[in-house]
């Protein structure tokens, strides 16, 4: 039995050491890389236009610069040329799992249209992908429940992109925004009352002086038509 266990443990160790490469997936104890692509050109690209290195940090501390978020990447937007090759260094600054997923890629190169990096905890991963030539905006996010919702959302634009995605921290408005209380002070209340009174005064002023205003207006009209003529 002991021997069996030893074999099992060895097998276990073996898994860790060798890592699994399974239909575009590389997985080990640190995390996994799915659908990395450093050499296959998209059909619409003749050659790689530029080679870009991007480092993306993920963690709760990157959310500190956004109000009302909990997790974030250190950057929310990237813009690359059509057919660019992007070499991503993904760094997880938290003690928990985070992902970096890019969606909407062509399925013939990236199964399910997805490029996916995942870190089981603190650490870093490196992988490349080649973007198609189409002018498009891609969603970049961590898909752990509530991570994108709480700020881990960004966009990758090719050729300036075809628009912006909603709810990107610091960049775009949410579709469903939260409600917050308004800071009504004595000052803002008195401003409100004053404006209302002013409005009343103005209307009274207009009614009382309506003939004079009419005269002034007609005079002005006549003069301007004369000038125009």
């Amino acid at each position: 039995m002991k021997a069996l266990l030893l074999v099992l443990c060895l097998l276990g160790v073996n898994h860790f050491a060798s890592a699994m490469n399974h239909s575009g997936m590389i997985m080990d104890e640190k995390g996994m890389i799915m659908n990395a692509n450093s050499d296959k050109l998209p059909n619409d690209c003749k050659k790689i236009s530029e080679n870009i290195d991007i480092t993306i940090h993920a963690g709760h501390k990157h959310a500190l610069k956004f109000n009302g978020k909990m997790f974030a990447f250190d950057n929310q937007e990237w813009d690359v040329k059509p057919c660019a090759k992007i070499n991503i260094t993904f760094i997880n600054d938290d003690q928990i799992r985070h992902q970096l997923m890019i969606h909407g890629l062509p399925g013939y190169l990236y199964p399910e249209g997805m490029f996916h990096l995942e870190l089981n905890g603190e650490g870093q991963l490196q992988a490349s992908l080649i973007m198609p030539s189409q002018k498009k905006t891609y969603l970049v996010h961590c898909e752990l429940p509530q991570h994108m919702e709480k700020g881990m959302k960004a966009q990758l634009k090719v050729d300036g992109g075809d628009g912006d995605l909603p709810s990107i921290p610091g960049l775009t408005a949410p579709v469903r925004a939260d409600f917050y209380f308004v800071d009504w002070t004595q000052l803002s209340l008195s401003v409100l009352v004053f404006s209302a009174l002013l409005g009343c005064t103005i209307s009274f002023f207009i009614i009382l002086n309506r003939t004079r205003i009419k005269d002034l207006f007609t005079k002005y009209l006549i003069r301007s038509t004369q000038k125009g003529g």
């Binding site: 860790f16 009302g68 997790f71 928990i96 799992r97 249209g113 089981n120 898909e143 919702e149 949410p174």
Partner: protein, 553 residues
């Protein structure tokens, strides 16, 4: 206008007003000789009908061996993923990569090593748990994300512990449904007595949490001299991790739960069963029982006496508390609304769950499936707010342990209602011998909390934690109770639980007991009322004009 005329006009207005009030059409009127017709449930509305058994993985039901792990048959509609079980038994480090690929477990979710006492099973166990929000909100639109339906169309916000997973948390990128491993209740965790167990909480959630090991033998501090009791002042904040260490000397059915803002976090679902099994040779345990229910790889001790083993986790939800995480997305707002605006002392329990589901979804994965003359072990934990009084129709079972402490056989009690206070556990020996005491014979015997609220879903029957003790021959090939088709058609329907359907809206008695329709409007009354109101306004205008004219003169 003279004084006399004014008085006259005023009298006219008063008379007209009284008449208008008298004749005003109301929202509800009394029927005269003929009350309104019966309205029937809309049978053409297919969007809300749900297939009783989706039957997604029929191949998971059979008894099978995966990576040398024996997995018992599970005839129910939604059997546990046998690859999850194989991995839960051997650890993510010892199963084949092919098996691990059939699960959603992370490669470091469960590592089992070192046979310290040389008895043929691993004794050092590292368990990693994450905190998952189900039915949560999103700033990207008016929908919920990582959804988990507890009953047709019912999606309360929930928090659960989950074994550390990997990959997509959704079923796929175009879906908002949580992947099957992310579900209520928090998983049952099984460890062996005397094992060195390291439980790491990796807080993937946006609020702080802990793990408190209720009733499990644990030192107050871990080997680093840090908190090991999971108390509020040692909260694990978002993005952080903390390891609790135990070497439990006593075996029994225990609990684990969050101890941060305990009342709320417990009620949100951060609580589960933690079972310490006796130390036996070659005792490879199923560390995670995801979704609770049948244990498809029971421990050596259980197998000695029992043919089957089930974990039953009772849980309740306050819909107002559950909605807090759906109404706001900003963590600061959630924290404020949950901890300070929400007042649990003025709240109710609305949903009652057994193993994460309410009836009729309990039929999919929370049934006890038996044959005659079986000895079945039940671990029951009450993780809801109020006490439960569990009754199994047609049977009397025997209490073998209370709160994880065995009862000596001489004082073991056999009865048919088991009262369990919040956080208490009982172990039962259910004997399906048709002897007139322990069992009255085969059947589809309901079992449920006998507290009247317990069998409702937001007050609507049949719902709540109702489930069935089913004798095998009365189940179809998909593990669903036979002879219930019409009943299913009615209950597996979102409209039913949205309270849009008459309870007896179908069949012979529908004309008598379906919904009463609306009363036809009385047009004479409406026209008279309209004319009167018009007259009043006219007279009033007349008075105003006359008054103005008088002033000018």
């Amino acid at each position: 206008m003279t004084f006399k005329r004014t008085i006259l006009l005023l009298i006219i207005i008063f008379t007209l007003t009284s008449f208008a009030i008298f004749i005003a059409p109301r929202m509800q009127e009394q029927a005269e000789i003929t009350p309104p017709q019966t309205v029937y449930n809309d049978s053409k509305d297919n969007n809300n009908i749900i297939i009783p058994c989706p039957n997604e993985h029929p191949e998971w039901r059979a008894a099978q061996i995966i990576d040398d792990v024996n997995i018992d048959a599970a005839p129910s509609c939604e059997p546990d993923n046998p690859y999850d079980i194989a991995t839960s038994v051997k650890g993510t480090n010892n199963v084949s990569m092919a098996t691990l690929m059939q699960t959603n477990l992370a490669q470091d979710a469960l590592t089992m090593t070192d046979d310290l006492d040389h008895d043929g099973d691993p004794d050092v166990v590292h368990i990693k748990l994450e905190v998952i929000e189900l039915n949560g909100s999103t700033p990207d639109g008016d929908f919920l994300i990582n959804t988990f339906d507890i009953a047709p169309g019912i999606q309360p916000g929930l928090w659960v512990y989950a074994p550390k997973s990997r990959g997509m948390a959704l079923k796929n990128f175009n879906s908002v449904v949580a992947n099957p491993m992310l579900r209520a209740p928090s998983p049952v965790i099984r460890v062996e007595q005397d094992d060195k167990v390291y439980i790491t909480l990796e807080n993937t959630h946006y609020l702080p949490h802990t793990i408190h090991l209720h009733g499990v033998d644990h030192p107050w501090l871990n080997s680093k001299g840090e908190d090991n009791d999971g108390m509020e002042e040692h909260a694990v904040f978002p993005g952080k991790s903390h390891t609790y260490e135990i070497k439990p000397r006593h075996a029994g059915t225990m609990l684990y739960h969050c101890h941060v803002q305990t009342a709320q976090h417990f009620m949100m679902g951060l609580a589960g069963m933690f079972i310490v099994e006796e130390n036996r040779p070659n005792n490879w345990l199923q560390t995670f029982n995801i979704g609770a229910g049948q244990v498809r790889h029971p421990s050596a001790t259980v197998k000695k006496t029992f043919s089957q083993e089930y974990d039953l986790h009772y849980q309740s939800v306050d819909k107002k508390l559950a909605k807090i995480i759906q109404d706001a997305n900003d963590p600061r707002l959630v924290a404020e609304h949950m901890s300070r605006d929400y007042n649990m002392t003025e709240s109710f329990e609305n949903y009652f769950l057994l193993n994460g589901h309410s009836f009729p979804y309990t039929l999919r994965d929370a049934m006890i499936i038996a044959s005659e003359n079986e000895d079945i072990k039940l671990h029951i934990a009450n993780l809801q707010r109020s006490a439960v009084a569990i009754h199994i129709h047609g049977h009397k079972a025997t209490i073998t342990a209370l709160d994880g402490v065995d009862h000596p056989p001489a004082i073991q009690i056999t009865r048919d209602v088991f009262d369990i206070s919040p956080a208490q556990r009982i172990d039962l020996h259910l004997l399906t011998q048709n002897n007139g005491l322990n069992s009255y014979g085969p059947g589809l015997w309901m079992f449920h909390d006998h507290t009247p609220t317990g069998t409702t879903t937001d007050g609507l029957e049949p719902g709540g934690n109702m489930a069935i003790l089913a004798y095998k021959e009365l189940l179809d090939e998909q593990g669903m109770p036979k002879m219930h088709d019409e009943f299913f058609d009615q209950l597996f329907n979102k409209n039913y639980y949205a309270k849009n359907m008459a309870i007896w809206g179908e069949g012979e008695f529908a004309p008598l007991l379906a919904d009463a329709g609306l009363l036809a409007p009385n047009y004479l009354q409406i026209i008279l009322f309209g004319l009167t109101i018009g007259l009043i306004i006219g007279v009033l205008l007349l008075i105003i004009l006359a008054y103005k004219r008088n002033q000018k003169q």
